[in-house]
């Protein structure tokens, strides 16, 4: 609309919607490109995983999953995640509580160390453990002399998983806790609450959705980790194979239907994670905006 002299425009008059957006063709092209990209790189692969998995029928699909080696892989994956997620949960909360609520020497060093697993290739992470605990490693001889088995065994897989998923909970919580400040903890302290009471009644309720979000991401990575685990596992069927490793073996044996059937489990986990993650994310945002 055109206003004579442009002077009569008042504050409560909204500018027309057209001025704030691009012309329609540009919008359609941009949206179309985004959708095409999404479809090509996410929807099509996901659909193909499920269609390939069910290619030889539902019976074959179930058989591939129920096969003893597959069950062993599922069990091992659950063990690795079941140990590493709780440990990283405790560590992550402790580290972010220390970083966000206290001042101490070496704080930035600690933050850098927490980030280390993010910046190192997972294969290198795996190799570190082989170099440490392997037969030629620093303490490998002592370990084998005392018949402890870490590399090519379950402990190695758990260690590698812990290392790789180390930053997830802490990285999520540090910014959240920093944005919340120390005021509420100080208020609790002045009101006579001790350290534990303050933590469980003030700090933890304020970060619970952030904790959940971190745990979901941590768990997804723990179950899906390939590189680091592949290096330390030794690929012993039914013993040291996690789900991703089992998929690889089946695939290399040209057993595509079974490979995709097992892969569909991981894909299904990814979808579940995505939904849970969105809910947690939404709750975290709600909590921050409630400020």
């Amino acid at each position: 609309m055109h206003l004579p002299g442009g002077l009569k425009k008042t504050a409560n008059e909204k500018p027309s919607a057209h001025r704030l957006t691009e012309p329609a063709p540009v919008r359609w092209v941009l949206t179309g490109m985004a959708l095409l990209f999404l479809g090509l790189f996410l929807v099509v692969p996901l659909a193909s995983v499920f269609s390939q998995a069910l290619e030889k029928g539902f019976g074959a699909y179930l058989a591939a999953i129920r096969e003893p080696d597959a069950l062993a892989a599922i069990k091992l994956t659950l063990i690795a995640a079941g140990i590493s997620v709780p440990l990283n949960l405790v560590f992550g909360i402790a580290a972010s509580w220390a970083v966000a609520k206290f001042d101490f020497r070496g704080k930035s060093l600690l933050i850098t160390l927490i980030d280390l697993p993010f910046s190192v290739s997972p294969v290198i992470s795996g190799l570190i453990f082989v170099l440490l605990f392997g037969l030629q490693g620093w303490i490998g001889e002592w370990l084998s002399a005392n018949s402890f088995k870490i590399i090519f065994a379950v402990p190695g897989i758990v260690l590698a998983t812990i290392f790789v998923t180390f930053p997830f909970v802490a990285r999520e919580l540090i910014p959240l806790m920093q944005s919340q400040g120390r005021d509420e903890e100080e208020a609790a302290l002045v009101l006579g609450a001790g350290g534990f009471t303050t933590f469980f009644r003030v700090t933890l309720p304020n970060i619970k959705w952030g904790v959940l979000y971190g745990v979901i991401l941590c768990n997804a990575r723990a179950m899906g980790e390939f590189g680091a685990v592949s290096v330390v596992s030794g690929h012993i069927r039914g013993l040291t194979n996690t789900l991703p490793l089992h998929v690889e073996i089946l695939y290399n044996e040209y057993n595509f239907a079974a490979a995709f059937a097992v892969a569909s489990l991981l894909a299904f986990l990814a979808l579940l994670t995505l939904v849970a993650k969105s809910i947690a994310e939404w709750k975290v945002r709600e909590q921050i905006s409630a400020e």
Partner: protein
């Protein structure tokens, strides 16, 4: 409970937040810690609360050593600048918190806690909002919840950090009157931090003026306002005009005005500054005597109970701020551009290191 602060010093990374501060807060009084930002007043408050610890010096509660007591043991109520309400708890739960976390032996029964919380919410006039969450309250309401929460544990001292700082002007005025009234009712020793001199003058029994980690002056509002101990206090409490001059023959010469400085005969030539409040500036259209300064009216703000003027001195081109009553303003019929004669009354003269 009385608070005594002796020779407290606190440094943050080499910055002197507090340098040998002494302060006494008598039992039952409402005291304002007044100063510009960075003057150390909040640090002092946090040290009293036990949220920070002093490098040297000691704190006595009721004459008892309390320097090393933790925040938990001090039995103080603290109202934070941004309220610090527990965001995941509703108003009732916020106020009840201090009672619920008491050790089992001292903890009141559920019923007692409920009664106590409702009584406090009545006191702060928020009874009907007990189920609301902090995010659903206005700034003024949050402030009152914070106050009720601090009072729930029956503190012997109430400490308030910029209690009205984040509120808009009207709510601020209402709340500070209300705080004064509340204090008259419950008489708990209270110390509040503010950078707003008007707030301090209106609410407090005593004002402690702080600057750069030191106490500049403490006294009743009348004392600090009428008898400022030094130029800083003069400047900080209200508007003020500065007149520069020199010592000459035992008197301060400021323009044509001479102020006796007994005992300063030997200081000839020393610079002096005279401080005059805007309402102590007398304005006349015609010369009344020799002790006057000629000036031009530059700006008039005539709305309100007093009329405010900006006058420019003809000799030094410095600006003088003046205030006249409405009647006097009408009587003189002043216009911008008029030439007037100005006579400062009640001059307070300070030399470099002496106050006369």
């Amino acid at each position: 409970m009385s608070i005594e602060i002796r020779n407290i010093t606190k440094q943050f990374n080499g910055f002197h937040a507090l340098s040998s501060v002494d302060l006494t807060v008598p039992s039952g009084e409402l005291v304002a810690l007044l100063g510009p930002s960075g003057s150390g007043k909040t640090t002092l408050l946090r040290i009293i609360a036990g949220l920070e610890f002093a490098d040297t010096g000691s704190i006595l509660f009721n004459g008892e050593e309390a320097t090393h007591r933790g925040a938990k043991e001090r039995r103080v109520g603290f109202v934070f600048q941004h309220y610090a309400l527990f965001r995941h708890l509703n108003v009732f739960q916020n106020v009840a918190f201090g009672l619920q976390v008491k050790p089992r032996a001292e903890r009141p029964s559920k019923r007692e806690i409920r009664d106590k919380v409702h009584e406090l919410l009545r006191l702060v006039q928020l009874e009907q909002l007990a189920g609301r969450y902090p995010a659903q309250l206005s700034g003024g309401q949050r402030q009152r919840v914070a106050l009720a929460r601090a009072l729930a544990v029956e503190p012997e001292v109430l400490l308030l950090d910029e209690p009205f700082g984040a509120l808009d002007a009207k709510v601020r005025q209402e709340l500070r009157r209300w705080l004064r009234k509340l204090h008259d009712e419950i008489h708990v020793t209270s110390l509040f931090v503010t950078h707003d001199q008007e707030e301090a003058l209106e609410v407090a029994d005593r004002i402690v003026v702080m600057n750069e980690g030191r106490v500049e002056q403490s006294g009743t509002p009348e004392e600090v306002y009428d008898k400022p101990a030094n130029p800083f206090v003069f400047n900080f409490l209200g508007n003020v005009n500065l007149f520069h001059g020199r010592v000459d023959g035992g008197a301060a010469k400021i323009a044509h005005i001479s102020v006796d400085l007994p005992g300063h005969g030997d200081k000839d030539g020393a610079a002096v500054v005279a401080y005059v409040r805007p309402y102590d500036i007398e304005i006349n259209r015609v010369r009344q005597g020799s002790e006057e300064i000629q000036a031009i009216v530059r700006h008039i703000q005539g709305a309100g109970a007093v009329a405010r003027f900006e006058l420019e001195r003809l000799d030094s081109r410095e600006i003088i701020e003046a205030e006249l009553t409405r009647e006097r303003y009408r009587e003189l019929g002043l216009q911008t551009g008029d030439t007037v004669f100005v006579r400062p009354r009640n001059m307070r003269v300070f030399t470099q290191d002496y106050q006369i």
